[in-house]
């Protein structure tokens, strides 16, 4: 991070300001910031600049961008093989979950959205939305809601604290697909909040068989390779992580 100079690059400052620097880069930046007042000042100035721009945008959004969802009327088209869906809940495998996080039992086949939660406090969960290819209607997925090829699916999560997320799918043949993040070697930063959309969506194709999609949330970045390698289903989320399974069921012809 500072190998080429005495201070952080503007990219590092920008990424830290919006919480999008992860892994070793984040650690290096944090260490540098702890000992560099000049870069702390730059970070604060960057945050102030961002806040000023955000306020200006909020008060007068540009006409060319106002009320336009990404991808136009359709959701993003990136992935494949989602052939029906049921709901999902996000449960913690960590013996020491964050405050207020529910700790469900293991979710399994057959769906069961948001089930098996037990602890008090805000819910840690994931919601899927599907946009129908035929009608364009958008539905929030619940149990046993069948979808058709061409439908598009988007996941949103609610998490009481910031962490890192990965999404993997496993079809009936045992093939594993890394849905998120695309590229990289570790799970991606995920902010705390309610109904935060994951930055990808999936267009369902006509591939046969069910698929299990696992959403994994961790306090720290986890390597993706162990999540996607090997023919056997992942044994469960890594330590200090939460996980949930979404069963994708092909609708009957």
């Amino acid at each position: 991070m500072t190998a080429r100079g005495q201070h952080l690059s503007q990219f590092a400052i920008d990424a830290v300001a919006v919480g999008q620097l992860d892994g070793a880069l984040r650690s290096t930046a944090e260490q540098h910031l702890a000992g560099c007042g000049a870069c702390r000042d730059r970070l604060e100035a960057t945050r102030a600049d961002d806040a000023a721009v955000a306020a200006a945008v909020a008060s007068a959004p540009p006409a060319w961008l106002e009320a336009r969802p990404v991808g136009g009327p359709a959701l993003r088209d990136r992935r494949r093989r989602w052939l029906g869906a049921s709901g999902l809940g996000l449960g913690l495998a960590d013996p020491a979950p964050p405050d207020g996080v529910r700790t469900p039992g293991k979710t399994g086949g057959g769906g069961g959205g948001g089930r098996a939660t037990s602890a008090k406090g805000p819910t840690l969960s994931v919601v899927a939305h599907v946009q129908r290819a035929a009608s364009g209607a958008v539905l929030e997925l619940e149990e046993d809601v069948a979808v058709e090829p061409g439908d598009r699916v988007q996941l949103s999560y609610t998490a009481p604290e910031a962490g890192f997320v990965a999404v993997v799918g496993r079809d009936q043949a045992g093939h594993v697909t890394l849905y998120y993040p695309a590229g990289g070697t570790a799970s991606a930063p995920a902010a705390a909040g309610t109904g935060i959309p994951l930055p990808f969506s999936i267009e369902l194709d006509a591939a046969p068989g069910d698929e299990i999609v696992q959403v994994i949330w961790c306090r720290d970045p986890v390597p993706l390779a162990p999540l996607t390698n090997g023919p056997a289903p992942p044994p469960g989320p890594p330590a200090r992580c939460a996980a949930a399974e979404l069963r994708l069921v092909r609708s009957s012809p």
Partner: protein, 169 residues
Amino acid sequence: MKRPPEPLDAGELYRRHAGTALRRARWLLASEEDAREAVQHVFLEVVEHPQQMDRFPSFVAWLYSAITHFCLNQLRNTRTRARLLAVAVAPAGARAAPARGEALAAAAQLLDRLEPEVAEVVVYHHVDEMTHDEIAHILGCSRRHVGNLLARARVSIAAAARAEEERVA
């Protein structure tokens, strides 16, 4: 239907990241008008071609890359390049411009000889002074690949220099 999906609301992304985009564009283009044009362009890209973001580890990484590409294309524009050279290089001759201006001008002159990915890395390395780790993060590649791209840039630059020498001779 309970609520519409809000997967990547362009307005929200713009509210959160327009500041970053504007700083980046101003830094590279040294023109408020052109910087605002660059910001508008890349956020419209978000709306119209969101799949471009798929290979990036974060929105900020994509934003840096998108702004950089747009600015490089702008610098390819003769009019813009001429203005850049006038603004950045002439003062540099009087030792009034920062090294960034010289580096940008040099990068601009090389743009037509470099592959887009190589040109992007040249800007990150020589203009932004990013580390190989940071460049690899943005590009979603290994540090070795970054080194290879910079090596290719050096080869291209050397070849261009030899060609220019031969032309003059």
